[in-house]
């Protein structure tokens, strides 16, 4: 028996199919079963937004990481694997709520996030700064690094506050983009200054003019 059409060699590997569609289906069902059997320590998904593609990651405890495209997916997943658990799987379902809330936020229809947060990638003073930031600086407002230092109870630790913001593991949701320098310039941002500008502009457009909050910060404080 001969092959009239294609006498070229066939590799056994090429002949036994393993299509992308089949693998996508199998991987999705693996993630679902892993979740059911309590074997999914870190679930992640992508989300397209006006500040580029974000990677969202959650543990049982809540949202643990938001990463910008520029941070590199491979590097971020490796960091999650090293610091939390190597049981990391692409599992969008566990991140449905936060993805929906982020969509609403970027559409200008949401001002606060209502999702559990897992703070384990941040510790000590940095964590204290970020938890104060998460509740103390409202949508459409900004605070200076100095004001945030005061809010966190260490008025002189301005530089450390800058580091805390620059290493915020949950940007956007924990709004380090609302922290600016006292001379009015934006300061550094994990997602790049353009992303910071986009987020501030978005909140300004949806909330009216950005107001700078003085410390101590309160919802009804007059603009300074």
């Amino acid at each position: 028996m001969t092959h009239a059409v294609d006498p070229a060699r066939v590799s056994l590997r090429d002949a036994v199919p393993a299509s992308t569609d089949d693998l996508t289906r199998l991987r999705a069902s693996l993630a679902a079963r892993a979740s059911t059997e309590d074997l999914l320590d870190v679930a992640y998904r992508d989300l397209d937004t006006p500040v580029g593609r974000l990677l969202l990651a959650a543990t049982d405890g809540g949202l643990v990481r938001v990463a910008f495209d520029g941070e590199g997916e491979d590097r971020v997943l490796q960091e999650l694997s090293d610091r939390i658990s190597p049981r990391v799987l692409h599992a969008p379902a566990r991140l449905d709520a936060v993805a929906r809330q982020l969509d609403e936020y970027f559409a200008g229809r949401r001002r606060t996030f209502d999702v559990p947060l897992d703070w384990q990638l941040s510790s000590g003073f940095r964590r204290s700064v970020l938890t104060h930031l998460a509740t103390g600086v409202d949508y459409g407002h900004t605070a200076t690094y100095a004001a945030l230092a005061t809010l966190a109870g260490s008025p002189r630790a301005v530089r450390a506050v800058g580091t805390a913001c620059a290493t915020n593991p949950i940007p956007v949701v924990v709004p380090c983009h609302r922290v600016v320098r006292s001379d009015g310039t934006m300061g550094r941002y994990r997602g790049g200054s353009e992303a910071k500008r986009t987020l501030l502009d978005l909140e300004t457009a949806a909330a009216g003019p950005v107001r700078v909050q003085a410390a101590p910060v309160g919802r009804d404080d007059p603009p300074v």
């Binding site: 028996m1 001969t2 009239a4 066939v10 693998l23 991987r27 074997l39 490796q78 990391v88």
Partner: protein, 170 residues
């Protein structure tokens, strides 16, 4: 400079890198229907054990070992359910599209005696050495080498275009 210490990859990367090979092995050993079950059981089991696996382990060999055990489980379960074995499609005598030819080749693999089928799958789809295959299936390396060679010879009698998997063109 010494090599950096081995890094344990996130499991998603393991699935992305080795998922296709494990699926091919499961399909060659079990056929398309049971292969999905064996693939899922393999990766679920691997996920369970993964945190304790040394970072420098040979991931593909480790996964194929698990797949082999799962294939045995699935075969036993299928036998217990006593579902009749699907008929091998009748072989075409004219080569049609490349796709049809590939399907025929898969059917021909499925028609090999079990030991030849395993040897061919683990040696040529998973890329294990004869010694590794021997350890996996609990047989002697020369027996595995013979089974793999006999299996490939049978496949090549039907499909002269099948590449010599060690690199030479037939």
């Amino acid at each position: 400079m010494p090599d950096p210490p081995p890094v344990k990859l996130p499991f998603e990367t393991v699935v992305a890198t080795h998922g296709a090979t494990v699926l091919r092995v499961c399909r060659a050993v079990l056929g398309p229907v049971d292969a999905d079950d064996a693939w899922s059981e393999t990766f679920l089991s691997a996920l369970r054990a993964y945190p304790a696996l040394p970072a420098d382990a040979n991931l593909e060999a480790w996964l194929v070992t698990i797949a082999h055990r799962k294939a045995i489980d699935v075969t036993r379960a299928t036998a217990r359910r006593a579902i009749p074995v699907a008929e091998i499609p009748e072989r075409r005598h004219t080569a049609a599209s490349a796709n049809d030819r590939d399907l025929d080749l898969v059917a021909a693999v499925a028609a090999l005696p079990p030991r030849q089928r395993e040897a061919v799958a683990y040696r040529y789809l998973a890329g294990l050495t004869h010694a590794e295959v021997a350890e996996l299936v609990g047989r002697r390396p020369d027996a595995v080498r013979r089974a793999a060679a006999d299996g490939m010879a049978t496949l090549r009698r039907t499909y002269p275009g099948l590449a010599d998997e060690d690199g030479a063109t037939p």
